[in-house]
């Protein structure tokens, strides 16, 4: 049985590093994750994402070219509460780690390079906006969280992107990029000597590049109007979305991640492709393909989203709401229990599969390190959880909630 060896180190600055060993893999992955994302406080929406783009600019030019000279890939991503910078290659470990710290730790913002980035990010946003899923997911997030940063696209709006300047970028950088708020992760095949070397090198580099500071996090929750919206659009798409504002979402057995897993299992058991509900919707020709269900937790709000495709989206949205509100009947409990047992197998398998995907594994572990989560413990808790405990926890998490939805208006509707 393959189990990854994980070694962690904490430096006096509060910066933390972790190495995950995956013998025989050629790829070496390095990342720095920052506990700051698009929905966290920032004066101009989209600043976190803009900053992620602009940190690649250095006095000598785009730093990605120097990664690529080493035959490595470099990239970054911004999510609601996190920004991650990462690179991967097959050799040159030391140089890659040094470059990664320079990327994150040495900003070079000028009026000119910021202005040049505006049309590129606007094109990135335009790319998303041309996808028919975008108006649905964007409307849903606005209905869930209004005009807060969580309700606005990670990239911002065309207007907010245009208004970002050097001062705005410096402000969010100073406020959020500090040792206690950042973690380093490495994943791949490293020998004992390399492990010791990486920890020493990271120790030196975090001292050189990352400042020591401490700021309190703003945990203000956002709420939108939570309406059912119909969007008039040129598209022929039948995509729809339903949002659930989870007011009572909290830790189960000391973990948000476990709460997320339990709630996703609960929603899948009611609405998933194996459920009697889906079978009935299929028989009525209301649904052909499975729904995409996800539960998210952020500092600004916790929510679930359900996306699907249906000709008669209003009827499906109402049916989903009814099904979520309805408790399992006595006759349905054996099915729900069997489903829960199958989900235990699926989560065990997912855990095993993750070990084969170096970037995915590293990113998941980096998030975990930031959030003080322990996925192995969560998996053990899930495997040993009784069905009655599962019902109790998931009912508690779904105690108070509000729905909203978004769908496209058919011709003649508005």
């Amino acid at each position: 049985m393959i189990s990854p060896k994980i070694i962690s180190q904490k430096y006096t600055s509060g910066f933390m590093a972790q190495i995950i060993l995956r013998p025989q893999f050629n790829q070496r992955f390095f990342g720095i994750i920052v506990d700051f994302g698009s929905s966290d406080p920032q004066a101009i929406p989209g600043s976190a994402h803009f900053l992620e783009h602009k940190l690649f600019a250095k006095k000598s030019g785009d730093i990605s070219h120097r990664f690529e000279e080493l035959g490595a890939d470099v990239n970054a991503m911004t999510s609601f509460n996190e920004t991650m910078y990462f690179c991967s290659g097959v050799d040159h470990n030391r140089q890659l780690i040094e470059l990664l710290f320079e990327l994150v730790g040495e900003p070079y913002f000028t009026a000119d390079n910021v202005a040049k980035e505006i049309p590129i990010i606007q094109q990135e946003l335009a790319m998303y906006q041309d996808d028919p899923n975008w108006p649905i997911s964007n409307t849903l997030m606005q209905e869930l969280f209004g005009n807060s940063n969580l309700g606005i696209d990670v990239a911002g709006t065309k207007e907010s992107i245009a208004s970002i300047n050097v001062a705005a970028l410096k402000a969010v950088y100073q406020r959020n990029y500090y040792a206690q708020n950042m973690r380093f992760i490495a994943c791949g095949d490293f020998n004992e000597g390399q492990i010791q070397y990486i920890f020493r090198l990271v120790g030196q580099l975090q001292q050189k590049y990352i400042k020591v500071a401490k700021f309190e996090q703003d945990l203000t929750k956002a709420t939108g109007k939570l309406r059912d919206r119909m969007i008039v659009n040129k598209t022929n798409s039948n995509v729809f979305g339903l949002g659930i504002n989870l007011k009572n979402f909290k830790k189960v057995l000391s973990s948000y991640e476990l709460s997320q897993i339990l709630l996703e299992i609960m929603l899948e058991s009611k609405l998933g492709i194996m459920s009697p509900w889906f079978e009935a919707m299929k028989a009525k020709h209301l649904l052909a393909n499975s729904l995409q269900i996800a539960v998210n937790y952020t500092r600004q709000g916790n929510f679930a989203t359900i996306y699907g495709v249906a000709d008669h989206s209003q009827a499906v949205i109402e049916a989903i709401k009814s099904e979520i509100m309805r408790p399992f009947s006595k006759e349905e409990l054996p099915y729900a229990k069997e489903f829960f047992e199958l989900q235990k197998k699926e989560w065990l398998a997912q855990n095993k599969r993750a070990l084969n995907n170096i970037p995915y594994l590293a990113m998941e572990m980096a998030e975990e390190l930031l959030d003080y989560e322990d996925s192995s413990q969560n998996l053990r808790n899930l495997q040993t959880m009784s069905f009655s405990d599962f019902l109790k926890y998931s009912q508690e998490l779904l105690k108070e909630y509000d729905f909203c939805s978004a769908s496209f208006a058919k011709k003649g509707e508005n």
Partner: protein
């Protein structure tokens, strides 16, 4: 007499999952593609021994989320119907009931025993119709579909890029689909994969897969579709999108050897492989016209395709930059540092590919499908690519089609 069955399972010492792929080869026609899409989608839903979505899903879930996929893949003039099973190695799970035997017999029964049922057929048709509609609502997909339809305007059997014509799918009956499926028993087939106990898996496969096609020659000498000559067809279509999608297609004159393919891959990397690549710098960083730009060498289609999502105002300038770069390369104007970097990146991509199960299986399939592929040393060929080869490759390209979706 011992019959040789086309199955090749290699040992897995690296991954927590094993993989097997069963591949059936048949000629690419619109009809075959439509029926292959319909049949495989039906098999993903249900099969004779697992006759409903719920039952089949439950069966796979119970096998520790066995990931089963079935889809037609296009290789030039051929369709390869691919059945892929990715499953957790039984050694990883402490469950005596979870065995290779159980896993493979389940997969074999889904692959070899489709369910021909009117309700299932109707339901699958509605899924495919919905999928295609949603797929084509995405501008990049729509543009790609239109590009290929125009590219193969004179040879429509090759022009469908996704699932074949919807009217063929909608016109299929239980009987016509069953006839198509029956015919697949005798088309050339092969099974490849990797597993910890490769010998045991090979034995179980040989016991469970019984198609006659498994003893036919799977390899094919040439499946390349020559590039049509279209006199640099230029087409602009308007759909009111925020971004313009451009597809600039170059035909490749003559047959593309394996060494040419490598040169084409290096060229794709040189032009749009990463952030320091030529077009990325010129179109994104200097012109500020795009977020992403891509280039691909479709060797089986004799097509070198450059695509991007662009600011509509800057489309013409971007297209001109692309055309200029190809001309520059054919004239021998190659940035030596960038060329070196492109080769190094490509070599590393091959190494990283070996860390991915799907890449491993795709390579195993290619070794079975293409004559001489197994013997060709790709890593060495990448190392040895010269700028002369790149120039020669670019010189064989001719601008064939420029498609813009606005």
């Amino acid at each position: 007499m011992k019959i040789t069955v086309n199955s090749k399972i290699i040992p897995n010492t690296k991954f927590t999952t094993a993989m097997i792929g069963c591949f059936l080869r048949l000629p690419l026609t619109r009809h075959n593609l439509a029926y292959a899409s319909l049949l495989t989608r039906m098999q993903l839903n249900a099969s004779l021994y697992y006759p409903s979505i719920g039952i089949q899903e439950k069966t796979l879930s119970n096998l520790y989320d066995l990931s089963f996929d079935a889809t037609p893949q296009l290789f030039g003039k051929e369709i390869v119907i691919s059945y892929l099973a990715n499953f957790i190695e039984p050694q990883e799970i402490l469950d005596p009931e979870y065995t290779y035997e159980k896993i493979i017999s389940t997969v074999a029964s889904i692959v070899q025993h489709p369910l021909f049922d009117q309700d299932l057929l109707n339901y699958t048709k509605s899924q495919l119709s919905e999928d295609l509609q949603e797929l084509l609502e995405e501008p990049a997909n729509y543009a790609l579909d239109r590009f290929f339809k125009l590219w193969y305007e004179q040879d429509p059997d090759y022009g469908d890029n996704f699932m074949g014509p919807l009217e063929e799918i909608e016109g299929a009956t239980v009987d016509s689909l069953k006839n198509f499926s029956d015919g697949l028993r005798i088309v050339p087939a092969t099974i490849v994969g990797f597993a910890r106990d490769d010998q045991q898996v090979t034995n179980i496969i040989n016991q469970n897969f019984k198609q006659a096609g498994l003893i036919k020659r799977f390899q094919i000498d040439d499946l390349t579709i020559p590039a049509p000559h279209k006199d640099a067809l230029s087409k602009i279509e308007k759909r009111g999108n925020l971004q313009a999608q451009i597809m600039i297609g170059y035909g490749f004159a003559g047959k593309m050897t394996y060494r040419d393919q490598i040169a084409g891959m290096v060229l794709a990397q040189y032009l749009a492989g990463d952030q320091s690549s030529k077009l990325f710098v010129r179109v994104r960083e200097e012109l500020g016209a795009a977020y992403a730009i891509d280039s691909n060498n479709y060797s089986n289609n004799s097509l070198f395709l450059i695509s991007a999502g662009l600011d509509p105002e800057l489309t013409e300038q971007a297209i001109q930059i692309i055309k200029d770069e190809i001309v520059k390369i054919s004239d021998g104007q190659i940035d030596p540092e960038l060329f070196k970097k492109a080769k190094k990146s490509l070599k590393n991509l091959q190494l990283v590919g070996r860390d991915q199960e799907n890449w491993q299986l795709a390579q195993a399939l290619r070794k079975e499908l293409f004559a001489g592929y197994a013997e060709f040393d790709r890593d060495q060929a990448i190392s040895r690519v010269t700028s002369k080869q790149l120039i020669s490759f670019a010189q064989k390209l001719f601008l064939n089609e420029s498609y813009v979706l606005q």
